[in-house]
């Protein structure tokens, strides 16, 4: 907000329609401050990857402007290519070359040569814990190792802006946590700007300083994770009842709960009761008292700070998981998310 530096990435009103009339981008606008980590969050098909493809000069929009590292990606794609590193969804590493050979070739394409090149390759192998694996063919790597190599490949030429397109999709929870730590360390690098796309809510929450929630080719909400969650005003209080309430009892409970000023939006559905409270923990005794008075036995109570999932529901009008109609990669239950 207060930064005076020019943004590292600016996409203005990007529109892209694929053959068959599929509108991938419908006025996409994002601005990423230099040296920050920016998260594009949305379900599969929301337009995240298309945005990255345009910003990395791989695809061209029907209209709109894309500026990356001070260069126009449409008019001077060659200048943008020198300034960016890209870790795409698909690995792209050569499986019948060793990790080190992949790094060396990538470096040569950017004009690195001789001792400087080999030093850089070894330094990256060391940094990503691939020194031994560097001598082996990439096809023998585990998913996590391959992903670390992909990031190393993207960094060979010390780019100003690094694009990470769903860097942890398909990784097991352990490898995902390791990759998160890796990305957090990268974020500390001097001046490196990172644009991260993800469909994992906790990934954006944990790694990104600012998040844009994308739905149907547009940004529907943007801010820091806390700002976005803060707009929801209050904690989520969820109660599971021992017995099913009929529709009549449900309405009765909702009315009884809303009499207390600290509780809002109480909804009872079967055995589940959901409500919002400015101060969740201190609202719990009151909620329990009301339920006892009304004769509803309680099985369990949870209080949660609002999640990005709640934010997504509010802005996109759907639950995140329902909107995610893509390859069905499971959203990790808790790994790393519970701090």
């Amino acid at each position: 907000m207060t930064t005076t530096r020019a943004p590292a990435v600016a996409a203005l009103n990007l529109i892209k329609t694929y053959p068959g009339g599929i509108k991938a981008l419908d006025g996409m606008d994002i601005t990423v401050g230099a040296g920050t980590v920016f998260g594009l969050l949305g379900p599969n098909g929301a337009g995240k990857s298309t945005t990255v493809k345009i910003l990395t000069t791989l695809a061209r929009p029907d209209s709109g402007t894309a500026i990356v590292a001070g260069h126009d990606a449409l008019r001077h794609p060659d200048r943008v290519r020198r300034a960016i590193g890209v870790v795409a969804q698909k690995s792209g590493a050569d499986p019948v070359a060793t990790g080190r050979e992949n790094l060396l070739l990538q470096g040569r394409l950017y004009g690195l040569r001789g001792a400087a090149l080999t030093r850089r390759a070894d330094e990256l192998l060391d940094r990503f814990d691939l020194t031994d694996a560097g001598k082996r063919l990439v096809k023998t790597y585990s998913g996590g190792m391959q992903r670390r190599l992909d990031v190393a490949i993207g960094l060979v030429h010390r780019p100003e802006v690094l694009f990470l397109d769903e860097p942890t999709t398909g990784l097991d929870p352990e490898a995902r946590t390791a990759m998160w730590e890796e990305i957090s360390r990268l974020a500390g690098d001097e001046g490196l700007t990172i644009l991260l796309t993800t469909h994992y809510l906790e990934e954006a929450d944990r790694l990104a300083e600012r998040v844009a929630i994308v739905d149907r080719g547009r940004v529907v909400a943007e801010g820091t994770p806390d700002e976005l969650k803060g707009e929801l005003h209050g904690d989520a209080v969820q109660v599971v009842l021992r017995e099913d309430t009929g529709p009549l009892d449900a309405r009765l409970l909702e009315t009884a709960l809303s009499e207390f000023a600290g509780v809002r939006e109480a909804v009872v559905d079967g055995r589940h009761l959901r409500a919002r409270a400015d101060d969740g923990p201190s609202a719990v005794p009151h909620v329990l008292a009301v339920l006892e008075r009304e004769g509803a036995a309680v099985a369990s109570v949870t209080v949660a700070r609002p999640s990005l999932d709640d934010v997504y529901l509010r802005y996109a009008g759907r639950r995140f998981a329902d909107a995610d109609t893509g390859d069905g990669a499971p959203v990790p239950a808790t790994a790393g998310g519970a701090r």
Binding site: R81, A93, D94, V96, R108, L109
Partner: protein, 259 residues
């Protein structure tokens, strides 16, 4: 061509050649298959030379250029599979977001194909020699045979790459290759003297690039080379190779637009 393009072409070619050398099974098959062709066809058609029209009394002399050209055709036809794999794996996109010369990406396919075809052809010629084949045209004739097979490989390699980028389906490449390989081979003078072919086949063979490569090669390999045939068929092959590479460069641009 700029120095960057030349350098990048070399890096990309090197990458492809290393990948081939690291797949020993593939290497063995491409080298063993011509041996089988030489042995099988050599034994099967051995007596056919007695019918005349082959310009030699040993069928092996006639067969060697046939197997060289057929092998160049059959191995180059699969080039599109490699391209397809690189697209699916994301390797092509990975290169496209770097400053790599776009021309180098296409050049590398052609150069790698050429080197592979040349090596394969030389091995077949040496195996033929080992089996007792006679090459009256000497080294010049053999060099022209190898050049003709490289040009033919370039034609079909480029078509195969274009097909891979356009249809993006393995099945289509397999289907078309299986459909084309034998008719293209047998509608040429690869294994049978032109004078023994039915006249309708001879007319079709005149338009078959596989036959152009054979006529150019055999004309140069004769004791008394027919340079007119070498130049006309070789020139036609060269023109077709240029057209095929141009076409595959166009499909490459179309691919970039479709991303």
């Amino acid at each position: 061509m700029s120095t960057a393009t030349l350098n990048h072409t070399w890096y990309m070619t090197q990458r492809q050649l290393t990948a081939i050398l690291r797949q020993p099974a593939f290497l063995v098959i491409t080298l063993v298959q011509p041996v089988i062709w030489l042995f099988l066809f050599g034994s099967l058609f051995r007596k056919v030379v007695e019918l005349g029209g082959f310009g030699t009394t040993s069928y092996l002399d006639y067969l060697v250029p046939g197997v060289v050209v057929m092998s160049a055709l059959s191995s180059s036809m699969w080039a599109g599979m490699g391209t397809l794999e690189e697209i699916e794996r994301g390797t092509l996109d990975r290169f496209l977001v770097t400053p790599v010369s776009r021309a180098a990406l296409m050049n590398a396919n052609v150069v790698q194909q050429g080197i592979s075809t040349a090596l394969q052809s030389v091995v077949i010629v040496l195996l033929g020699k080992l089996g007792g084949a006679d090459y009256p045209g000497g080294v010049t004739g053999l060099v022209i045979l190898v050049i003709a097979s490289i040009l033919l490989g370039t034609v079909f390699g480029a078509f195969s790459n274009a097909l891979g980028m356009l249809v993006r389906q393995r099945e289509s490449i397999i289907g078309i290759n299986t459909f084309l390989l034998l008719p293209l081979t047998f509608l040429s003078s690869a294994f049978m003297a032109v004078t023994l072919m039915p006249s309708w086949m001879r007319h079709i063979a005149d338009f078959n690039p596989v036959n152009w490569a054979l006529v150019a090669g055999r004309s140069a390999m004769a004791a008394d080379p027919d340079w007119g045939s070498v130049l006309s068929r070789g020139g036609a092959l060269l023109a077709l190779a240029v057209a095929a590479v141009w076409l595959s460069t166009r499909t490459f641009r179309a691919y970039q637009k479709s991303v």
